[in-house]
Amino acid sequence: MITLEAYFDYVILPILSISVMLVFIRLFKGPAIVDRVVALDLVITIGIGIITVYSIRSNQEVFLDVAIILALIAFLGTVAFAYYIEKQKDD
């Protein structure tokens, strides 16, 4: 019988790590700057998921506060990048 802890350790976290690696390929490759912005946003979103799983595994609910701040920073970063990329075209 597989325990839930082993399932989180050996299935869920490796899947999320592989996802981050795949997104990093796009982050380095991306032809336009908007591709990189979207890839960075996705990296941070997957990071929120990894923090959540880690807080379940280590039984520390305090880590969810970090996830809140990270979600806020990801949104602000995406909006700021979009704003300045659009402004850059006007000049």
Partner: protein
């Protein structure tokens, strides 16, 4: 019993995040990549947070998880819309198999406002052609 529910929730969440990252790597076009990524990753992280909310027997954790899910669902479409709009203005080409671009010529070039009819200025008619890529290398 509760462990089976947790296993199902976390599996579906992790798999949809994996599909989002495969999509951002394999899709041929920026707009298709954006469309795949935002929805699938929001669903995946939301399911993992529901998993945490079920796991901890505490009201404060449930409140925090619901707050993060609410914030993600509110902000992800706004960010995606803004970055897609910025990409369209900076001339990111569409995939070469694109059939129709209904936004072509509908934006006012100075004010960036969307209009319901094409503007009648004939001097920049060639700018109104949809920006569709000729080859796969332009978008990939």
């Amino acid at each position: 019993m509760i462990e089976i529910v947790l296993a199902i929730l976390s599996t579906v969440g992790a798999l949809s995040i994996l599909f989002a990252s495969i999509g951002i790597l394999r899709m041929p076009d920026f707009y298709l990549r954006l469309s795949v990524t935002v929805k699938a990753s929001t669903l995946g992280v939301g399911l993992l947070l529901i998993c945490a909310a079920v796991m901890f027997p505490d009201v404060s954790v449930t409140t925090k998880a619901i707050a993060i899910i609410f914030f993600l669902i509110i902000t992800a479409p706004i960010g995606a819309h803004m970055i897609g709009r910025a990409a369209y203005f900076t001339g990111t080409p569409l995939w070469k198999g694109t059939i129709i671009d209904e936004l072509a010529g509908m934006y006012n070039d100075e004010t960036h406002e969307l209009e319901s009819e094409e503007s009648d200025t004939d001097d920049d008619r060639e700018d109104d052609a949809p920006n569709i890529a000729k080859t796969d290398e332009e978008t990939e």
